[in-house]
């Protein structure tokens, strides 16, 4: 049996998958990947189901060593400097660690979370149909907690299939789109305008439960206590101090602060990837636009297997990279991990 041993890992790294919806009426939140598109891309690279369990790696570096045989992995999400035993590895591609080799990953660049999928998936005992870690509820497998160095992820032997890369649409550095509601009537029109017109930053005290926003104070019309009601991933609640909190996949299933707006499904992963301290803006869209985008996002997920390419096709990209270098982009011909020029 092959396995991937976690040889070093930072905080905010855990096994995540599509999550465990269906028990929110009992207070159990679904959890699951912060950036579902990147999870699905990593899985697609090694032929797994889109939302199979993978390692969600937080902003700091990590390394993994293959034991008991070769292990094939897919890497997607926030790009990093990456190498296997000194051989550079590109993001949005698959790679194979021979027995005893170590995959080294640097700090996340232009994002917060990267996904490492293992060919044939991670072995574990599903709880409510999911391996996703929810430490508060004692859920998750093989470990019901964030990963630590020394942890072992059992894997099936690498298939020896040709390595692949995946062509993803360039992530736009556009505003994060929201629809107002459900409690936007708890706010005056000028508060809503301030929310949309202002530049925001994500606080460093954010986590998988919620992203705290730093920016102007958003005032309520009359008080910040409402009767608790249900939340969704992407709910933007405004507590008494007027600093919004965006609820993330490990949120409480109910909350007692007014929710001014909700991040649209199609933009949630992009929002989750915004690094602490980097300025961004929101943009309000209509329900019709948000739902049209959700349908497009669904189609994008389904199209991922068709976006796989052979690694040998990279020859074409080297020409493109030369052009990119001429244009002054921060791309190094010797550092493969910088080839993913889509990240700002």
């Amino acid at each position: 049996m092959s396995k991937l041993v976690v040889t070093s890992i930072g905080p905010a790294s855990s096994v995540q998958d599509g999550g465990r919806p269906g028990s929110q009426r009992y207070g159990l939140v679904p959890s699951g990947a912060m950036d579902r598109l990147s999870l699905a891309a990593a899985n697609t690279l090694v032929g797994n189901d889109l939302f199979a369990a993978a390692v969600e790696i937080g902003p700091f570096g990590a390394s993994f060593t293959a034991r008991g045989g070769a292990v094939r992995v897919g890497l997607a999400g926030a790009s990093r400097n990456a190498d296997i035993a000194g051989r550079p590895v590109a993001f949005d591609s698959s790679a194979t660690l021979a027995e005893g080799e170590t995959l080294n990953l640097g700090f996340a660049r232009g994002g917060s979370f990267s996904y490492l999928a293992i060919e044939h998936g991670i072995e574990g005992e599903p709880m409510f149909g999911s391996l996703a870690v929810n430490a508060r509820a004692g859920l998750g497998s093989p470990y019901p907690r964030p990963l630590q160095s020394g942890d072992e992820l059992k894997a099936k032997a690498a298939s020896g299939a040709a390595e692949r890369r995946i062509e993803l649409p360039v992530a736009a550095d556009a505003p994060i789109r929201i629809v107002f509601g459900p409690q936007d009537d708890e706010f005056a029109e000028d508060s809503k305008k301030l929310f949309i017109d202002s530049e925001w930053k994500i606080s460093a005290t954010s986590d998988r439960m919620g992203y705290r926003l730093e920016g102007p104070v958003i005032r309520h019309l009359d008080g910040h206590n409402i009767v608790s009601d249900g939340t969704v991933t992407g709910s933007i609640q405004v507590p008494g101090n007027g600093q919004p909190i965006v609820l993330m996949p490990d949120r409480g299933t109910s909350g007692g602060y007014p929710k001014i707006a909700t991040v649209i499904t199609a933009d949630f992963g992009r929002f989750a990837q915004i690094s602490a301290g980097r300025p961004f803006r929101f943009k309000a869209v209509t329900m019709a636009e948000a739902q049209a985008e959700a349908i497009k996002f669904h189609a994008l997920l389904r199209s991922l297997p068709d976006r796989l390419r052979g690694i040998e096709d990279l020859g074409l990209n080297i020409e493109a990279l030369r052009d990119a270098n001429v244009a002054g982009q921060a791309v190094s011909a010797v550092d493969v991990s910088t080839w993913q020029v889509a990240v700002p």
């Binding site: 009426r25 009992y26 009767v227 009601d229 409480g252």
Partner: protein, 252 residues
């Protein structure tokens, strides 16, 4: 004339709920903005009716005090189309008391298990025994389960026991805490933060992995409490730890 108008309004049995967008994949179906028992009964009635007569595209529903959160897949159904069907269901979802399950939940009050009992008695100018007697005499209903797994918010707390929440919420309160806050009382399952006043603890696990059922209580269940001593609590806590339900199902 004014009286006639009022009569007509009263004769109108059910006003339609408000449909509030919670993003592109969920609708908050709001029956009231306040804690209101009648509204909560309508929430639970709509929840039951949607379970009995499903609407394609709905993935799950989450009842709360005053609204039903409906999660759905916008690839299968639009906000407008779903909203229409929900309003049609809401118009005929009538609250009913039939089939209500009733549980009796053992609680050890005061001492190390209910560190706020004395303070609550002082604030309400009575004795700890009186607080316990009144809390045990109550007839409660699970209005919603939320925040963390198994955290059951109960309606039906008598007015005498209404008390504002603590100014400084505690970061950690024990598993099984029975507490009061505002006009509510609650059964907390997992250890965690709380701003409520801690009256006691129950050995009952409302959420326990690898037990059938994993979740003990359903929104709408009726609850009464029974006082037990600390020794009984310790015994029942051990039994509950090994998977026993400990709570008594009075009416299945």
């Amino acid at each position: 004339m004014a009286n006639e108008v009022r009569l007509i309004q009263m004769a109108e049995p059910l006003s339609p709920p408000r449909l509030l967008p919670s993003g592109d994949s969920a609708i908050t179906v709001e029956f009231s903005r306040t804690i209101d028992d009648a509204a909560n009964r309508r929430v639970l009635a709509l929840d039951r009716l949607i379970a009995a007569e499903p609407i394609a595209g709905i993935s799950e529903t989450v009842p709360t005090y005053r609204s039903l959160l409906v999660h759905y897949d916008p690839v299968q159904i639009s906000f407008d189309a779903l909203g229409e069907q929900i309003l049609a269901r809401a118009a005929k979802a009538l609250p009913t008391e039939t089939g209500t399950r009733r549980w009796r939940i053992p609680v050890t009050y005061g001492g190390e298990h209910g560190i706020d009992l004395e303070e609550v008695a002082k604030a309400l100018q009575t004795t700890p025994d009186e607080i316990v007697a009144r809390h045990v005499a109550g007839d409660y209903r699970v209005a919603m389960i939320g925040f963390t797994p198994g955290w059951s918010y109960l309606s039906g707390l008598e007015t005498f026991l209404h008390m504002p929440r603590r100014k400084d919420p505690r970061l950690l309160t024990p598993a099984g805490t029975i507490s009061i806050g505002g006009i509510q009382t609650g059964v907390q399952c997992l250890a965690g933060p709380s701003g409520w006043h801690l009256l006691g603890r129950t050995p009952v696990r409302t959420y326990q992995l690898h037990r059938d059922p994993t979740f003990l209580l359903e929104p709408g269940d009726a609850i009464t409490f029974t006082a037990i001593d600390a020794k009984t609590f310790a015994e029942q806590d051990r039994a509950a730890e090994s998977g026993e339900i400990v709570a008594e199902l009075v009416t299945p």
